[in-house]
């Protein structure tokens, strides 16, 4: 009885809310969102939930360990083990060092190239745009393999040539610059395209005004162009930092030739080693959750920072 009585009430209550929207709108949104939600749930939410679940358990043996293991709930035990492990923490330190070296180099060069392309000086713009972008089209693994070949003494034609000229450098002994070089090669062209697109969007009258006022091309670049593409710069920095946290392929490939890259050189490598060399899924899951939290926190901070700066910049313009 009661259910019958309440049904019309709910219908009536819902009706006014719908009235404001165009008819059929919510149905279309549902249909359009459904494929995304299904994939998002299956490929992101469920795996996260499962990883969190794994991170709370450990395998326990007894005696010599040849019997059947039991899975026991250890709460945050895996998390405290990861955080107490200097190898895990040093992975983050390596990423920080990598960012400190990589971001200025990569941003600096791609910005310079974008400004050159944007300036009146550049000839054959389309050719250079394509040529500089090409490295990005090479899959990361293949690029890493080729770079390692170029780094290896005794095989590398580049090192051999330098050797015959009297220069001897041990690139494999210095994994940080080696990885930065690989990443810069791959990403400079890509980020240059982003910067170039942003530069192209700058209203031409502003640049003309600068010219009329007698600003040199250098002055125009430093005082007009770069401040106006700050939003793109921040976006690129954010994605680069997040990408750096997930650094894996390049050091992993490099490890085969450069033993100074240890098994936990980056946080992702630590997780990989825990899962696949040490067979400790709980620890690996805890490491991934911590890594994800750091990435999320960092992204949030950069986005907030970027938005407030961009808002202020826009306010200043108008």
């Amino acid at each position: 009885m009661t259910t019958v009585a309440t049904r019309p009430d709910t219908a009536r209550a819902a009706a006014p809310r719908r009235r404001g929207r165009p008819p059929g709108h919510s149905g279309a949104a549902g249909v359009l969102l459904a494929p995304f939600m299904v994939l998002f749930t299956a490929c992101t939410l469920i795996p996260i939930g499962y990883a969190v679940h794994l991170s709370l358990y450990s395998e326990r043996h007894s005696g010599l360990g040849f019997g059947v293991a039991e899975t026991v709930f250890t709460g945050f035990g895996n998390y405290s083990r990861a955080l107490a492990d200097p190898a895990f923490v040093s992975g983050f330190a390596n990423v920080a060092k990598y960012c400190a070296l990589y971001i200025p180099v990569m941003i600096g060069i791609s910005l310079l190239l974008a400004l050159l392309l944007d300036s009146a000086l550049a000839k054959a713009r389309h050719f250079f745009q394509l040529a500089l972008f090409l490295p990005h089209a090479v899959p990361g693994i293949i690029a890493a393999l080729i770079w390692v070949y170029l780094y290896a003494p005794g095989i590398s034609p580049v090192l051999d040539a330098m050797d015959s000229m009297g220069f001897q450098i041990d690139i494999l002994g210095h994994p940080l610059p080696a990885v930065v070089n690989m990443a810069a090669w791959q990403w400079i062209g890509y980020n240059m395209v982003i910067f170039y697109a942003a530069l192209q969007a700058i209203p031409r009258e502003i640049l003309e005004a600068a010219e009329v006022d007698g600003a040199s091309p250098l002055r125009t670049a430093l005082s007009i162009k770069i401040p106006l593409i700050r939003a793109s710069l921040l976006t690129v920095v954010m994605f680069t930092v997040i990408g750096a946290l997930q650094l894996f392929t390049e050091p992993m490939i490099l490890q085969g030739s450069a033993p100074s890259v240890d098994s936990s050189w980056t946080p992702n490598m630590y997780v990989f080693t825990a899962a696949f060399q040490r067979n400790d899924n709980g620890l690996a899951a805890a490491g991934s959750v911590l890594l994800a939290l750091v990435a999320a926190g960092l992204s949030f901070a950069v986005t907030r920072f970027g938005r407030s700066r961009a808002a202020r910049a826009e306010g200043g313009m108008s």
Binding site: T44, P47, I48, Y50, A51, L54, S58, E59, R60, H61, S62, G63, L64, G65, F66, V68, A69, R81, A87, G140, I141, Y149, A152, P153, G154, I155, G173, F239, I242, G243, Q246, F248, T249, M252, I253, Q255, S257, P259, S260, V261, D262, S263, V271, A275, F276, Q277, R278, N279, A284, A285, S288, V289, L291, A292, L293, A295, A296, S299, F300, T303
Partner: protein, 447 residues
């Protein structure tokens, strides 16, 4: 290493997605660790031909499988070549086992067998392996496949250590094959003096197994059991002697630091800048494949020892293990037994030309000897060297139940050698990491 897990650097993903990639790639691979025990002994007698799947990487395996399939109708083997264990093969097997689609049979080296057993990926085949069969293998090999009083695998080869050297380079420098480690050091100095680019050998900073074999040879016991507890002694006195010796060679630039089987190492062999290799019997086929154009220049001698008396550890060596959930344990063992104890099985492997392994079954050594073409070694009777080396393998060595952790800690320590790290700190950290790992897994450790 399985590169395919790599997510790609997420550039244009949302904040949420970017932070979750690491999670989903792990969870996608981790799989359930369910350990349902299947008793292999209760399987019904199969009717008609049984098809088993087999994963391995040992040289010549494809030929062995073909020879078996050509002569057998009751069991058919489907072979899949996988990367060697350390290069990702073990990860592949373990992942498949967790996902419930492991092959019926797989190769696993002695050192990794305890790891696989403790993870619950290997079937206990005690009831299917008769004492007569066990007697066909070298006792040292049987020892290593028996853990906690149960049989877990059939041994394929024993891997006695031997010394490979370039006879022409040694002759030119006026050096003979060293019989003691002191002579090895002197020979290293003479070779370097004769040509500043020549080194007597290589310390592989990515691979812990050579140091383990050297420690084994010197009488160390990294692992042993006391009742139901493990004793871990990676940093003990005998190991320390070995560590100090190799540390001295590294410090004095008498050997190179190059990853095992890397492009750099191969290039230095090709150029004749590395004049020797402290390996094991199976290295004979591998070396021949790496530098085929140096035929006739290489020779094999017993591994140097501390006191001049023959002694050897084992460097590598493979077994056949049946996976825990295999429904065809009997058929899988039938193939494994054929491949390890019959002249046909050994003949097929060695005749492939790629393998110079030393059979774990001594009765088959003459078969292997007759099948291996020794022109690469200038016609030298290399199997006689292997036989003597095989006899000198020290018994009572046991591999630990967490060699993945032990080896990772050692290799991480070795990686610091080029930048001022020491072998001593590597073994100390391996000792610490291993005991901590065992305690963490709830495995008993004796103090």
């Amino acid at each position: 290493m399985s590169i395919s897990f790599r997510s790609g650097r997420v550039r244009l993903a949302s904040v949420l997605a970017s932070s979750t990639v690491a999670l989903s790639l792990l969870a996608g691979c981790a799989g359930g660790g369910g350990t349902t025990a299947a008793a292999p002994s209760t399987e019904p007698e199969p009717t008609g031909p049984v098809t088993i799947t087999f994963w391995g990487w040992a040289k010549g395996t494809a030929d062995v499988v073909k020879a078996f399939n050509d002569t057998h109708t009751d069991v058919k083997v489907t072979f899949e070549q996988i990367p060697s264990g350390i290069q990702g093969g073990y990860t592949k097997i373990a992942n498949a086992a967790k996902a419930g689609n492991a092959p019926d049979l797989f190769n696993v080296e002695y050192a990794s067998l305890p790891d696989f057993v403790t993870q619950g990926h290997v079937a206990d085949v005690s009831s299917l392996v008769s004492d007569d069969l066990k007697k066909k293998y070298l006792p040292q090999a049987t020892e290593l496949t028996t853990l906690g009083g149960k049989t877990w695998a059939l041994p394929l080869d024993a891997a006695p250590q031997v010394f490979f050297y370039r006879k022409d380079i040694f002759d030119k420098a006026g050096v003979t094959a060293p019989t003691t480690w002191d002579e090895y050091r002197t020979a290293a100095q003479k070779l370097k003096a004769a040509d500043p680019n020549t080194r007597i050998g290589t310390f592989f900073p990515d691979d812990a197994s050579p140091l383990a074999a050297m420690a084994w040879q010197s009488g160390a016991k990294w692992f042993s059991t006391q009742g139901d507890a493990w004793k871990v002694d990676i940093n003990g006195g005998d190991s320390k002697n070995v560590v100090d010796f190799w540390q001295g060679l590294v410090a004095d630039d008498l050997i190179r630091l190059q990853p095992s089987f890397s492009q750099q190492w191969t290039a230095s062999l090709q150029k004749g800048e590395t004049a020797a290799y402290t390996g094991a019997a199976w290295g004979g086929g591998v070396l021949k494949g790496l530098v085929p154009d140096q035929g006739g220049k290489w020779a094999i001698a017993p591994i140097p020892t501390w006191d001049g008396k023959p002694a050897s550890g084992m460097l590598g060596g493979s077994t056949f293990a049946v996976s825990k959930n295999s429904k065809h344990a009997k058929a899988a063992l039938k193939f494994a037994e054929w491949a390890t104890t019959t002249p046909e099985g050994i003949q097929a492997r060695i005749a492939s030309g790629a393998s110079s392994m030393f059979p774990a079954s001594p009765a088959l050594v003459p078969t292997a000897k007759a099948a291996f073409k020794v022109d690469f070694y200038g016609g030298q009777d290399i199997y006689s060297v292997f036989i003597e080396a095989g006899k000198s393998i020290k018994g009572n060595w046991t591999w630990g139940p967490a060699m993945g952790t032990t080896n990772t800690a050692l290799a991480d320590g070795f990686g610091k050698l080029a930048t001022g790290g020491t072998l001593n700190s590597a073994v100390e950290s391996a000792q610490k990491a291993t005991t901590a790992e065992l305690a963490n897994r709830g495995i008993k450790v004796a103090q």
